[in-house]
């Protein structure tokens, strides 16, 4: 306990000194720092903030120090996160490397691979993308067909991925490939390669929100060094599934109004008062008021469930059954929140661009559209319900 108190004081002092004031303001989504060879920073402070945090390994607080991480215990990390929240610090770095690949590499990669890749993730030097889905393999991911052949001193990859988020901006890809066409799950391998490799071609796809964050990704005779295979040949499915767990945890957080939650638009009740009107200090429409209350109550119940799950894990009761519902419930909740914002704001949340709407309003429109993907990416809601029915409830096929 005492050691934690000291840690808190030191952390607070360090953040006070090192987190630039401009990094303590709400972050519009487009100012997210993703790192990479062509890293873009909205301003010099953002770079300074990343460099300072990376220096201490605090972009990946719990990863071991030998791989560039912060080497913090879970408890220390909790304190760090609390202190970061306290000063409303922006995330110094956001990346698939931090959220998904890193944890999987720590568990499954060999020493050389960890030394090679983890420090670059921590420092934001290499940006990763996820090559899982294919045109014929979405929910049924294990049906993937991208071919990978052993050519003696290297692997040769041919095939196509789709929905690869930020493939056009990423430096490397972690990719599921078929190394045995005669079986399904046991013929998949987990491969890492450079997106600059000859034979990699990327075509952005425009989303309904107008942005083009995901791509079609084509591989034609791409040569991959053999040392880039993670784990054993044909044993990639285990790694793939574990990584999906990390991805789903990350996406679940959206239900709490985290990532892309209509940033800066204010509380639902304030939006209602501003856009619909109030009578004697109360929202003028009882029906809207009721919708808002349902949303707030469900959000609170969901937040408490995430908290309970974390406490159970801490008390050594393992990840309880509750965690299986997070991806499903969190994303559905986030979608409902945007539908509600649309109702509250009326035509002001239906603008597309140009005059007549401020940035916050346009952001709601675009984020509402983007939120539809939450219950598709990382495993659809229906697939999550299948998982709960089968694994948790034990219902048969």
């Amino acid at each position: 306990m005492e050691a934690l108190d000291t840690f808190r004081q030191e952390t607070r002092a360090w953040l006070e000194e090192n987190c630039p004031p401009s990094m303590r303001t709400p972050m519009p989504e487009e100012e997210t720092v993703w790192g990479g060879r062509n890293a873009k920073f909205p301003n010099p402070d953002a770079k300074l903030w990343l460099d300072r945090m990376a220096e201490r390994g605090w972009t990946a607080p719990t990863w071991p120090k030998e791989y560039g991480g912060g080497g913090l215990t879970k408890e220390e990390n909790l304190v760090l996160q609390q202190e970061l929240r306290r000063i409303k610090a922006r995330p110094a770095l956001s990346s698939f490397g931090l959220w998904m690949l890193g944890p999987a590499l720590l568990e499954f990669a060999n020493e050389e691979q960890k030394k090679e890749h983890l420090p670059k993730i921590v420092r934001g030097e290499i940006r990763w993308c996820q090559g899982y889905s294919e045109p014929g393999a979405g929910s049924d991911l294990a049906g993937l067909q991208t071919k990978c052949e052993d050519k003696g001193d290297h692997y040769l990859v041919n095939g196509q991925k789709i929905w690869t988020s930020y493939a056009d901006k990423a430096d490397w890809i972690f990719c599921l490939v078929r190394t045995d066409p005669t079986t399904k799950h046991d013929g998949i391998s987990f491969l890492l390669f450079d997106m600059m490799s000859p034979g990699v071609e990327v075509r952005p796809i425009t989303m309904i929100s107008g942005a083009s964050p995901f791509c079609e990704t084509f591989f034609t005779d791409v040569k991959v060094p053999k040392k880039n295979l993670v784990g054993e040949l044909n044993k990639g499915w285990t790694i793939a599934k574990r990584l999906l767990q990390h991805e789903r945890e990350m996406i679940s957080g959206m239900g709490l109004g985290g990532v892309g939650a209509g940033g800066g638009i204010g509380s639902l009740e304030q939006v209602a008062k501003d856009y619909f009107g109030e009578v004697d200090g109360r929202i003028a429409s009882p029906s809207l008021r009721d919708h808002i209350t349902r949303q707030k109550m469900d959000s609170k119940a969901f937040a408490l469930t995430m908290q309970r799950s974390a406490e159970e894990a801490k008390a050594g009761q393992g990840p309880g059954a509750a965690s299986s519902i997070f991806k499903y419930y969190g994303t559905e909740l986030n979608k409902r929140r945007y539908e509600l914002l649309l109702e509250l704001m009326g035509t002001k949340a239906l603008g597309w661009e140009g005059d007549g709407f401020d940035d916050g309003e346009i952001n709601v429109t675009r984020s509402w559209l983007r939120s539809k993907g939450n219950s598709i990416e990382g495993g659809t809601s229906e697939v999550q319900l299948n998982v709960v029915s089968k694994r948790v409830l034990g219902l048969p096929d």
């Binding site: 009740e269 209350t293 707030k296 609170k300 119940a301 406490e311 801490k314 419930y329 709960v388 219902l395």
Partner: protein
């Protein structure tokens, strides 16, 4: 372990060790930290709480299974609950669970009571837990003077007194509108009005009546709580048979004389206590509904794994699987909310009203949903009196309507939050 000797398993809180103030001060910072770490883990049960839950589970399954409720109903039992079993519950410490050891209680606190209520909900056990312990016990604890506490709390803890709170005056919970009047008359009061849906009102040994001593029908101030002997002249009690086979009564008061010593708490200032008492009851009922929801879910799931149609168990149909998985998610949220609400009372948090409304709204809705879905998935069997699912549905509706349904609590929450 039989339920009889289970009494030794009902843990009491460790006795508080008296220390001198200087020592307390020296350990002050240490104790503060312990408190902090407990708060951080408010949603996980302690070992002694788990023990209590196990004791309660066993008691209700063995002693008050659902067959007990059926028997009370089919024999048109005049009491409407099993008095012998109630005495056993008192011996196990359930009746005095919120009452301090000084009055013979176990002082296990709200989380403990919630665990007992959840288990009672699982077997639809009829008992005066809600009327006597949640409502009246809390009211006396919060507002009673030394004499009242000594008399009433020790009688409740011993299982010797059944009490009922007379508050409702119409078909909807509405504590803001009280028309029943008590008029000062020398050194006493005269009480006139009619109350409805008084839980356990037909068998109560003593009533707590919510009456207006000043102001208009909808004023917040001017409310006073009175301890009333139902045998007094001018009191007319009519039992009402409810769909859940539990007990309630309509009670009429006609110019009933009440001594001023029977005032509970302050004259005209009863509303504060009443709101606190109601929140405790709302949270307790939510815990009972959690038991109802969980039990209905479990029985339905078992039925889906057993009933065959089209050559396979119906649990293999995705149309049913997804509904069960979605219900599972809702129930996980219910559990978190109930636990948080119970610890909110225990820690005297200032958001008790808000979390009470969240809990009561959510549990009322999900209990309705779960029992509807449970019945539907039982097919024709669900419509039979022989299958239990219908009994759970009936109790769920009454519990949902008690002390504010989901609509009431969403409205209240919005008002509390100022929008």
């Amino acid at each position: 372990m039989s339920s009889r000797n289970a009494s030794s398993a009902c843990p009491t809180r460790p006795a508080r060790i008296e220390t001198n103030p200087a020592q307390d001060k020296a350990r002050g910072s240490h104790m503060l930290k312990q408190q902090e770490s407990r708060d951080e883990m408010a949603l996980v049960l302690t070992e002694e709480q788990q023990l209590l839950r196990d004791t309660a589970t066993q008691f209700f399954q063995e002693r008050l299974p659902i067959a007990n409720l059926r028997k009370l109903r089919d024999t048109k039992d005049a009491t409407g609950f099993d008095r012998v079993a109630w005495k056993e519950m008192a011996d196990l410490g359930f009746a005095g669970i919120m009452i301090s050891e000084k009055y013979g209680g176990t002082d296990f606190g709200p989380v403990g009571l919630g665990l007992v209520l959840e288990q009672a909900g699982r077997t639809l056990a009829a008992s005066p837990l809600v009327s006597t312990v949640l409502l009246c016990g809390s009211a006396v604890q919060l507002a009673g003077n030394a004499t009242q506490r000594q008399d009433i709390l020790s009688a409740i803890a011993a299982g010797d007194r059944v009490m009922a709170l007379a508050i409702e005056e119409g078909p909807h919970h509405n504590p803001a509108r009280i028309a029943t009047k008590a008029v000062a008359d020398g050194n006493s009061y005269r009480l006139t009005g009619s109350k409805t849906f008084v839980l356990d009102g037909h068998v109560a040994d003593q009533l707590i009546v919510v009456a207006r001593t000043a102001g208009e029908e909808t004023d917040r101030s001017g409310i006073t709580l009175f301890l009333v002997d139902p045998k007094s002249e001018g009191v007319k009690v009519t039992r009402t048979l409810m769909v859940d086979s539990r007990n309630a009564a309509n009670i009429e008061f006609r110019n009933v004389a009440i001594p001023s010593s029977a005032v509970l708490g302050s004259v005209d200032g009863g509303n504060d206590v009443l709101e606190q008492v109601l929140d405790i009851a709302r949270i307790g009922l939510s815990a009972e509904m959690l038991g109802i929801v969980q039990q209905t879910f479990d029985t339905t799931l078992a039925y889906l794994k057993e009933r065959k149609q089209f050559g396979k168990v119906i649990g293999s149909f995705q149309a049913l699987q997804h509904r069960m998985a979605a219900l599972f998610a809702e129930i996980e949220l219910c559990r978190s909310v109930v636990l948080d609400a119970l610890s909110a009372i225990e820690d005297r948090r200032n958001d008790v009203p808000q979390i009470a409304s969240i809990a009561k709204a959510r549990l009322s809705e999900i209990a309705t949903l779960m029992t509807n879905e449970g019945l539907q998935m039982h097919g024709g069997m669900g419509m039979t009196d022989q299958f239990d699912v219908g009994l759970y549905m009936k109790r769920a509706r009454v519990a949902a309507a008690s002390f504010g349904d989901a609509n009431f609590h969403r409205e209240r929450y919005a008002a509390l939050e100022g929008y």
